[in-house]
């Protein structure tokens, strides 16, 4: 097991974004993933590949199982069946076979989870700077000046004034909290980011700014992301690929614009035709 983590760690050098089309395999391979709540299906039979630099959108109505799926992949809920293979560059590792400490380490270093409600992803009792710096310390950084510098840099990237570094997130607006949560998650330069309705409940103008930020980060850092949302406009602008979920199953998957503009499944057609045009 330690060897597995060593392999994960030894591949720590980030491949250049241009290598995203190169010879290496998928970053994440999910196969036959299922999560049941008693007799009720959370999600079942889900499988897909995610490649470096790709953004995968998961859409569906509330109750379709999309958040359950996201949490099952990210290890926030335990799946009942299926496999999740992650390859940081040194060959695929079965995530479900990792020990709890190894999985937690993966979540702190290579992966990040942006919650729908920023309060679930932030520590409300400590300062904004500490929220951002914490993940760097979890990765082993100890130099206070460098951590503070990185925190300031990331606050600037998510457009939070440096003067707010020592304020607690509870003093921030909802939009600022969400941007802070993104900074906290991305400061450690994860390879894979899970996002659950990252722009839900935000003002439209804040939403646009967040979308732009996430897109730029995908391009500049070459990170991969899985984004759950019910907002088809968000996935159109953000996701390369789309999975449509209904009753815990994937009913259609493909290129985002193909699924939205030429939907094949009856449910996708219904979803797409139900959008109000603006």
């Amino acid at each position: 097991m330690t060897m597995m983590m060593d392999r994960l760690r030894s591949a720590d050098r980030r491949p250049a974004p241009v290598a995203a089309d190169g010879a290496r395999g998928p970053l994440l391979t999910v196969d036959g993933l299922a999560k049941h709540y008693g007799a009720r299906i959370g999600c079942t039979g889900v499988g897909f590949d995610l490649w470096p630099g790709e953004v995968l959108g998961i859409v569906g109505e509330s109750g379709s199982g999309k958040t359950t799926l996201l949490k099952a992949i990210a290890g926030l809920v335990a799946p009942d069946a299926g496999s999740i293979r992650y390859d940081a560059g040194a060959g695929p590792v079965e995530v479900r076979a990792l020990s709890e400490p190894e999985r937690r380490r993966l979540m702190r270093t290579d992966w990040a989870f942006v919650h729908q409600n920023p309060r679930d992803g932030l520590r409300m009792g400590v300062s904004a700077g500490a929220n951002v710096g914490e993940r760097l310390m979890a990765r082993g950084q100890r130099h206070y000046g460098r951590i503070r510098g990185a925190a300031l840099d990331w606050l600037a990237r998510v457009e939070i004034a440096g003067a707010r570094l020592d304020d607690r997130p509870s003093a921030f607006s909802g939009g600022m909290q969400q941007r802070l949560q993104i900074a906290r998650n991305l400061v450690s330069e994860p390879r894979l980011v899970f996002m659950d309705e990252p722009t839900g409940g935000l003002d439209v103008s804040v939403q646009a700014r967040l979308l732009d930020l996430i897109r730029a980060l995908v391009r500049e850092l070459g990170l991969s992301a899985i984004v759950v949302t019910h907002d088809l406009a968000v996935v159109r602008l953000l996701a390369d690929r789309l999975m449509v979920m209904k009753d815990g199953r994937v009913v259609e998957a493909g290129l985002t614009d193909q699924v939205l503009d030429d939907p094949a499944h009856a449910y996708t057609q219904l979803l797409v035709s139900s959008i109000l045009q603006v």
């Binding site: 103008s205 732009d212 391009r219 159109r236 690929r241 493909g254 290129l255 193909q258 503009d261």
Partner: protein, 236 residues
């Protein structure tokens, strides 16, 4: 010379599940080729399937049968990442409408395709500035989102973005619509330069003068309507 865009026997039927499962056959036996340095116009009456065929070539609509290759890459039933890589590096598309993240400045919207293929930010921005200047978008607007612009200005930003990276194959949907004479002439020059550069261009041009000025051949899409049956490539 090998065609850069090749469409062979493509057919397309829409099944409308929300309308009682109605099946609409819109295309059958569509075939055409575009060689490097060539500009081919899709012609035919409204509803003949010109836009549908362009969308199939771009991988936006799925073809039910047949083959579409662009620079040797098969588009029909291709993996999403194959199509994404093709669109990033090889196949550009200037649609009639600009679709961008709100609030992103025009200069960044236009520079983005260059950044996506790995050009350095400075050279991507220089390319964007040059194109915006040529297309007469005043510099004071470059820092604003194009979504606040007039229809004609948005169309020019869209064209600048479409020509920012030198795509070896390019799809143009009404590139000169809603442009004044000076801008129209500039867009035609851009197309001519791309052709001279060896790009294979497939386009829809309702503007007959523009079509005559820039296109080497026309393909009548009416011939690919399922009722018409025969699969022939017209030459104009």
């Amino acid at each position: 010379m090998e065609p850069r865009i090749r469409v062979e026997n493509v057919s397309k039927t829409f099944t409308l599940h929300t309308q009682g499962g109605t099946r609409l056959a819109v295309m059958a036996g569509a075939s055409l080729t575009v060689r490097p340095g060539e500009c081919v116009a899709l012609t035919g009456p409204s509803g003949a399937g010109k836009s549908t065929l362009m969308r199939i070539v771009y991988g936006n609509y799925r073809a039910d049968a047949g083959s579409v290759t662009v620079a040797g890459t098969e588009v029909v039933n291709a993996e999403p990442r194959t199509v994404l890589a093709l669109r990033r590096h090889v196949l550009g598309y200037v649609s009639q409408f600009l679709r961008v993240v709100p609030r992103v400045p025009t200069i960044e919207v236009v520079a983005e395709p260059c950044l996506a293929v790995g050009r350095c930010p400075a050279s991507a921005e220089a390319r964007a500035r040059a194109l915006l200047t040529r297309l007469n978008i005043p510099e004071r607007l470059w820092g604003l989102s194009p979504l606040t612009f007039s229809g004609g200005e948005q169309q020019r930003v869209n064209i600048a973005r479409g020509f920012a990276h030198a795509y070896p194959a390019l799809l143009l949907d009404e590139p000169t619509a809603s442009l004044d004479a000076a801008n129209r002439a500039e867009v035609l020059r851009l197309i001519a330069e791309a052709k001279a550069d060896g790009a294979a261009i497939l386009g829809i041009f309702h503007d007959a003068e523009a079509r005559a000025a820039i296109c080497d051949r026309a393909v009548d899409v009416g011939a690919f309507m399922p009722a018409a049956g025969a699969a022939t490539e017209g030459a104009g």
